[in-house]
């Protein structure tokens, strides 16, 4: 297809797939369904509950490198215990260390605060494809009692796809944009994501679930220019430390700068652009 700007796209239509008209429903790529796994201790605790759901008052969901680095340094201030994970298929290039403990690993773990077990944090570094996101979100809402919780979703996105009246060369990156569900009464600390921009993939699926199920949720998206994780992009989230639901569960981190540098160094190994 030739577009308005003259570039040639490999598809005949953005909306529909030409192959799909031939009803080849069997020719699907094989994917494993996402799996949720709780730790031994958690499973024992869940046995005692009636609905098998983990109680929760504050839930922070970090998706992607920047959001994860921010959560690691600024949000998970107190002692947190790893209580579970949601697993999806790994790609060929995805890294994992033996201990699965490095911030560069493609993991997705759920953490629980020691001092206040109703605070849960989920750090997802794994790529969850858009077609798996429904099952993923379903697993989350089926296993964690989020109906009364305050939920914050953090993620980052490229400015490449961001549309605005301001030319992209004049955008002051990185910047934050937010969306919230109807039940989330507080106003987000930054501007609302402007039309016609929208979010896709796992963050969008989670927010759809939270909106439809009438949960109190807000999403903060950092629009960034760098392909690799950068200190500024991580710090773009700083303003949300002062608002619901993050403000109630954190305190200032004295070692933040050092931790930031450490994480950057770890990731710099992958940045081979100027080697």
């Amino acid at each position: 297809m030739a577009t308005f700007f003259g570039e040639i796209l490999p598809v005949t239509s953005r909306a529909v797939d030409l192959d799909e008209d031939e009803d080849d429903e069997e020719a699907l790529p094989i994917q494993c369904e996402p799996i949720l796994h709780w730790s031994k201790r958690m499973r024992a605790e869940l046995e005692k509950t009636s609905d098998k759901k983990v109680p929760c008052s504050n839930f922070v969901m970090a998706i992607g490198l920047e959001a994860n680095a921010f959560t690691e340094i600024y949000v998970k201030q107190f002692n947190y215990e790893r209580v579970g994970g949601i697993f999806t298929s790994l790609g060929d290039e995805d890294q994992l260390t033996l201990s699965n403990a490095s911030p560069t690993d493609k993991t997705c773990y759920i953490w629980r605060c020691h001092s206040n077990p109703s605070i849960l944090v989920c750090q997802c570094n794994r790529h969850v494809s858009a077609d798996q996101s429904f099952q993923w979100a379903q697993l989350l809402v089926d296993n964690i009692e989020l109906s009364t919780a305050y939920i914050a979703v953090l993620t980052a996105s490229d400015t490449g796809g961001y549309c605005s009246e301001v030319p992209s060369s004049d955008l002051d990156t990185p910047f934050l944009r937010a969306l919230k569900t109807e039940k989330f009464m507080a106003s987000p600390v930054c501007k609302i994501l402007e039309q016609p921009n929208m979010l896709t993939g796992l963050p969008a699926q989670l927010m759809s679930f939270f909106q439809v199920l009438r949960y109190k949720a807000v999403i903060y998206v950092c629009f960034k220019e760098n392909k690799y994780v950068d200190i500024l992009d991580v710090k773009a989230f700083m303003s949300i430390l002062n608002v619901t639901p993050i403000k109630d569960i954190t305190e200032p981190n004295k070692n933040a700068e050092q931790m930031l540098r450490d994480i950057m160094e770890l990731h710099a190994v992958n940045d081979t652009l100027y080697m």
Binding site: M1, T3, F4, F5, T12, S13, R14, A15, V16, D17, L18, E20, D21, D23, D24, E25, A27, L28, A130, D131, S133, F134, Q135, Y162, C163, S164, E165, V166, P167, S168, S169, D170, A178, L179, K180, T181, E182, P188, K191, I192, L193, E194, Q195, P196, N197, M198, L199, T200, G201, L202, P203, A204, Q205, M207, S208, F209, Q211, V212, L213, I219
Partner: protein, 282 residues
């Protein structure tokens, strides 16, 4: 699954349901956007289904200067009580290979709600037009038996809409192979490539009064096609009254006369991305 935003029970037996299917140029969605924004329709429910790819954004029908957040999801149901219309707006394509599942679910949902009639808006590839289809109106219709009985000659005489020509098979057989089949209605096929789930829905809902309104289009800036199909829909359902321009002189200056009657939603801006720096070309 369908989730209503309120606990009110829907009584839609006198309502017309408009279902745009995701199809080439997204013409159906564009027309639905116009209907929703012009009639100030109210969102009454969400559709959450594993076949739909996710997307969220702020309210696409908000005022330009609005700063509040009303999050919109990938598939929503809108209702207008004054005009008795329900629209299903789907804003994302399907997960590959899962269209059928959704089409089946949707036709069951439609049957369950007992609508007065159903309009499926869709489009099909313009490059697939046959020689004899090339001239004349780009619109075609399909009617279920119940719609046929109800409408009579209305679409043909009042709206000048033609039924979609069925084909013998695809790829096209030779003339000699065709001859014996031409008279046999059993061998005729509905050929509407690029129309998404329109055909599946139409075939599943044969027991209801269903009209498929389709248009031959190509991908591009399809806003004009969206307006055109919305106009056709309006001729049938009388959703809005078209304002006639009083000043004849003014009319000749506006190429797109009459466009003003539809309220174009805010989400239609910046179709081709951000504005660029004008200095680039100085």
């Amino acid at each position: 699954m369908y989730i209503s935003t309120s606990n009110r029970k829907h009584a839609w037996q006198d309502y017309t349901l408009i279902v745009p299917t995701v199809s080439v140029g997204n013409v159906g969605q564009l027309a639905a956007d116009l209907v929703i924004s012009t009639l100030w329709m109210e969102r009454v429910g969400f559709i959450l289904h594993p076949s739909l790819l996710p997307c969220v954004g702020n309210n696409p029908f908000a005022h330009e200067d609005a700063t509040s957040c009303k999050m919109t999801t990938c598939c929503e149901v809108y209702e207008s009580t004054s005009t008795q219309v329900v629209v299903i707006q789907q804003r994302a394509p399907f997960v590959k290979g899962r269209r059928k599942e959704y089409a089946q679910w949707l036709s069951a949902w439609i049957k369950e709600h007992n609508f007065y009639q159903v309009a499926i808006l869709t489009s099909t590839f313009a490059q697939e037009r046959l020689d004899h289809q090339l001239v004349g109106s780009p619109f075609r219709i399909l009617k279920s038996p119940a719609m046929e009985a109800r409408s009579g000659e209305f679409f043909k005489t009042k709206m000048d809409l033609q039924d979609l020509e069925s084909r013998v098979s695809f790829p096209a057989p030779s003339r000699t192979q065709q001859e014996p089949n031409l008279t046999n209605p059993e061998s005729k096929l509905l050929y509407m490539p690029g129309s998404g789930i329109a055909k599946m829905l139409f075939e599943d809902c044969q027991s209801l009064p269903v009209l498929v309104l389709m248009m031959f289009v190509s991908e591009g800036d399809n806003a004009g096609d969206g307006l055109a199909i919305a106009d056709q829909l309006n001729q049938w359902l009388n959703l809005i009254t078209i304002k006639k321009e009083a000043n004849k002189e003014l009319q000749s200056h506006h190429v797109a006369t009459g466009i003003m009657k539809w309220k174009i939603p805010m989400s239609w801006k910046l179709v081709f991305g951000s504005k660029f720096d004008q200095k680039l070309y100085q």
